[in-house]
């Protein structure tokens, strides 16, 4: 009896796994929300001309941001194929379950190499963990194109080009947007606090953005003759331009908080602590999860807004929560990258590299948006739900 049940259960499980997986085997998360089976846009080999297959390893699909990157890449493939008149390009787009799942990404990258693609797109979670595989790609002469945060500190010559936002510059854009709004509330006779909630202190794109914000803010404030004290997470305190004052004499305290895991609820706790300080005048969430933490915390506290007595919250990226908060006024503004353009640019670069053309880095840009310009076409096309 027991054995029968065990057998039946094992069979059912194996079958359901087989039914759920999309046959690719390496795709931890398929990219499409509509059907789990469409991540592979397989190329029909019926055309007369040469065909190219691309493998793209992203950081995952946790936020709708990645979905927009995928859409941009997918439509660019279609565009190029339409232009060629046959299925010249095909692409397999994969990513790990979470942005902390370094091991899963290493595995996916290795599988991608084994597929012997014409070019490979990579948004690395942890460059050191991928080093061995990147070297293998180099030996096999498979061109690597970095995208989103790219592949920082990769061995020389391994990554031909990057399609990415300059995150440090994007962080400065956030500092700029916030500074304009809070300028009137700063002064040499005042002592205020600006908070930063960052989902982690390991991902290069997020730390660069946080550092860009902190450095940008320090520049603006010191130019005004104000003293700044940076406190909180050691990584940010250590790597930023650093304090120009002490805790006692600073006019502005920049407090950076990082939760122990990258979930909204933990980001919300950290954000809540900053929002609860009586001297806080502004707060920055360095990515979608961090910014959503700020929004979640404020739902209870009701201290954020656009008024002079309210805390000015600035976020990064979009998603329905942030869009709602910006239009509703509880979040003053946010910086959006151009995920659609990142997706299409990585495909363009891969196509060029596969044909042996020389390629170079492309900054895909970013912009600050508030409730006033959230509906404008140039912003709206890069906002996603």
């Amino acid at each position: 009896m027991k054995r029968t049940i065990a057998l039946v259960l094992a069979t059912v499980m194996a079958l359901s796994v087989a039914a759920c997986s999309n046959g690719g085997g390496t795709t931890a998360s398929s990219a499409s929300a509509d059907s789990a089976a469409s991540a592979t846009d397989s190329g029909a080999k019926s055309g007369n001309g040469k065909t190219y297959h691309f493998e793209v390893v992203s950081k995952g699909f946790q936020s709708t941001y990645w979905q927009a990157v995928y859409k941009g890449a997918q439509s660019e493939i279609k565009k190029l194929n339409d232009k060629a008149g046959y299925e010249k390009y095909s692409m397999n787009f994969v990513g790990p379950d979470s942005e902390s799942d370094v091991a899963a990404q290493v595995q996916q990258f290795t599988s991608a190499l084994n597929a012997k693609p014409s070019a490979i797109g990579l948004a690395a979670l942890d460059v050191n963990a991928l080093l061995a595989s990147i070297k293998k790609a180099q030996e096999a002469k498979i061109p690597i194109i970095g995208f989103d945060s790219g592949v920082p500190n990769a061995p020389k010559g391994a990554v031909l080009a990057n399609a990415s936002t300059d995150n440090y510059a994007a962080g400065k854009v956030a500092a700029d947007g916030m500074y304009k709004k809070i300028k009137g509330r700063l002064g040499k006779d005042k002592k205020v606090r600006i908070g930063v909630v960052s989902q982690d202190a390991t991902s290069e794109s997020i730390t660069n953005r946080g550092l860009g914000f902190i450095d940008g803010m320090i520049e603006k404030l010191t130019a005004d003759g104000l003293k700044v004290f940076v406190t909180g997470n050691q990584k940010y305190v250590g790597d930023s331009k650093g304090s120009t004052g002490t805790q006692a004499n600073a006019n502005v305290i920049l407090e950076v908080r990082v939760p122990s895991q990258t979930t909204t609820e933990l980001c919300a706790t950290e954000a809540g602590v900053i929002l609860n300080e009586s001297d806080t005048i502004a707060i920055f969430g360095t990515n979608q999860t961090g910014a959503e933490g700020v929004v979640t915390a404020d739902e209870t506290l009701h201290v954020c807004g656009t008024g002079d007595d309210q805390i000015i919250a600035v976020g990064f990226d979009s998603g329905s929560v942030l869009k709602g908060a910006v239009s509703g006024g509880s979040m003053y503004g946010a910086v959006t990258q151009a995920p659609v353009s990142i997706g299409s640019t990585v495909v363009d670069l891969m196509a060029a590299a596969a044909e042996g053309q020389s390629v170079k880095d492309k900054d895909t840009g970013c912009a600050f948006y508030t409730s006033e310009n959230i509906g404008s076409p140039e912003i709206a096309q890069n906002l996603y739900d």
């Binding site: 379950d97 909204t264 609820e265 929560v321 509703g328």
Partner: protein, 333 residues
Amino acid sequence: MGNDKKAQKRKSSLTRTFGTQEVIVVGVIVILFLFFSLASQSFRRYTTVVTLCNYMYYILLMAIGVTFPLITAGVDLSIGTGIICYSIVGSYVISQMHMPVGVGMVVTMALALLFGFLNGIIIAKLDLPPFIVTLCTMMIVRGLGSILAGGLSGVWPMAGSPGSWCRSIFKINAGGKIIPIGMIWMILLIVIMSFVLRKTRTGRYIIAIGSNKEALRLSGVNVVKWQVAAYLISGFFAGLAAIAYACTFSNITPGTGAGLELDAIGGAIIGGTSMTGGSGSIFGTFLGVLVISLLKTGLPYVGLQANWQQIITGLVLIGAVTMDMTKRHKAAG
């Protein structure tokens, strides 16, 4: 023996009603509350209570559920990644399939019950170690949630959007003041589940499985049925926890949730539920969860970096388990 009787007589009426561990835990709660209030000005606010409640709902619901497998000398590790999986599938039903929020809740509950049942039937029928079985389902639901939702993060209705009535199950905004009415449901559930555990056949058999499963089997009781019941209860409450989590935090990240079950199990153990089975109380679990949630909300206020919070929570747990074991050794000696 004579000494024991004397010692028992010396026990105050307080410890007799609530149990020694529960009295100690209440003391810990008071100390923690005083400590955080003195150490941080911004902790001493009404909104802190609301935040504390926000955290407590899903941990408490998971903990009430997991108390039952714990009492059978089992454990349910699948609840942490489970609540993320169930709520993410619920969000898929609501935001991608455009179904009403109620339907999303039903789907969430159905999935949670299914996995509770699967855990129970595999553990009881095949007589496999609960730790291993639920460790496996923990991994299965973690992957399944991502696959079923296409790897996308899930969004439940936010305040002000259609379907946001689900948020007011747990807190309502009364003239600018937020009232955590979810506590009413929590108290109600604590009372009901205490009754189930103490006064019904289900509860008594579940306790009996934990103290002496073989004796119970020999006396002709269908052990399999009651063991499955324990995991079904755990699944049911994981479903409720999934809804509480989704209605409080809106945004659910796939692939996360590992570790949330430890908050719940830790809460139950701090509250006096024995890891070796046979004893435990729902009220104790509530107190234990209060300690965990207090640490979770309070520690960031005293300027501790996130990783220190985990260390301190771990130390508190070691204290609780030591207390449980000393109690057991005393009882055995």
